[in-house]
């Protein structure tokens, strides 16, 4: 830890992952929130909405997961 360049690289990749997780975090919030609104408006469409919501979350989450993989790749240096 004492001026170790490798630990700096590791910390930076961690920060990078944290930054990368912000967008998906907001995005998933929006997706889930709107899905709840839609379910409240049309409870009979619940199944379809839930499926679409998970698809949307999966797509949004992709960025965070790429970040996760990149964290490992980058910190491996």
């Amino acid at each position: 830890m004492e001026g170790n360049i490798e630990s700096l690289v590791g910390a930076l990749s961690l920060v990078g992952y944290g930054l990368g997780a912000i967008g998906p975090g907001i995005g998933i919030g929006i997706v889930a929130g709107n899905a709840i609104t839609a379910m409240a408006r049309q409870p009979e469409m619940q199944g379809t909405i839930r499926t679409t919501m998970f698809l949307g979350i999966a797509l949004t989450e992709a960025l965070a997961l790429i970040g996760f993989v990149l964290f490992f790749i980058a910190s491996a240096g």
Binding site: G47, F54, L55, A58, L59, E61, L65, I66, F68
Partner: protein, 266 residues
């Protein structure tokens, strides 16, 4: 994580010198140059536990199921009706065995994380998520090309329903997301969730115990262990939810991907 390695005087939490220590176990035996450890045994154990659960939950032609049988049947119906039929439709019957095997195997694998004496989610090793995601990828790619020939690729890359100005961009994103991102994210989502969960649980609970045990040595600072341990217990409950949810999401996304290949229209 050995207690001796933990520097309770200078640190506020015990971290292993190498994160892989939490996920890799010493080799027990070697077959043909391949090293086998506790992980491999746990994987096979998970398979047998899954089979046992299904067998004892479903055996016999009971008209009135036992409590355990009713629970298993509830989950079976959940996969059969809630995932296969609702998402894929009537054609979904064909994929029920795959989806069901996947759901139950992942459920048991995930819940191994919080099972006493095992305490290790086998899905936090990339092998299982990667294999299942790859299988799903092969299935939905095969279906996509078998049912739509090369229109599957062409229509994805050049969607006719999108205004011409945006078409190339949407097509690019679609191709990237369907052909490359889908299998990777499918595998990494499960893997990352289980790795993070296992890491958090182990760090918090172990640190909690170590710090509380070290109170005579470090005094008031040791009470931080109570906080870590409490947080660990909360995470423990949360991990139950995450384990079930991740098994569900993995299965659901597999069904959604299969459906999108069967009913492909752009």
């Amino acid at each position: 994580m050995a207690t001796s390695e933990c520097d309770v005087v200078n640190e506020v939490i015990c971290a292993p010198a190498n994160v892989n220590e939490l996920f890799e176990f010493p080799t027990i035996f070697t077959i043909g140059g391949l090293e086998f450890s506790r992980t491999h045994i746990l994987m096979l154990l998970a398979a047998f536990v899954t089979v046992a659960i299904l067998y004892y939950g479903l055996r016999g032609q009971r008209l009135v199921p036992t409590k355990f049988g009713a629970a298993v049947e509830g989950m079976v119906d959940f996969v059969k009706d809630g995932i296969a039929r609702d998402v894929i439709g009537p054609e979904g019957t064909k994929y029920v065995p795959y989806l069901m095997a996947m759901f139950f195997f992942l459920l048991v694998g995930n819940l191994f994380e919080i099972t006493p004496l095992i305490n290790f989610p086998i899905t936090s090793r990339m092998a299982i998520p990667a294999f299942l995601a790859l299988t799903t990828y092969v299935i939905f790619m095969f279906l996509g090309f078998a049912k739509n020939n090369f229109r599957y690729l062409i229509d994805t890359a050049w969607p006719k329903t999108v205004p011409i100005g945006l078409r190339w961009l949407v097509g690019l994103i679609e191709v990237f997301s369907i052909f490359i991102l889908r299998p990777i994210t499918l595998a990494v989502r499960l893997f990352a969730n289980m790795v993070a969960g296992h890491l958090m649980l182990t760090l918090l609970l172990t640190s909690g115990l170590i710090f509380v045990a070290a109170i005579p040595e470090i005094g008031v600072k040791g009470t931080i262990g109570v906080f870590w341990f409490g947080l660990g217990l909360f995470m423990f409950l949360l991990e139950i939810l995450i384990g079930v949810l991740q098994a569900y999401i993995f299965t659901l996304l597999t069904a959604i991907y299969i459906e999108s290949s069967i009913h492909f229209e752009h």
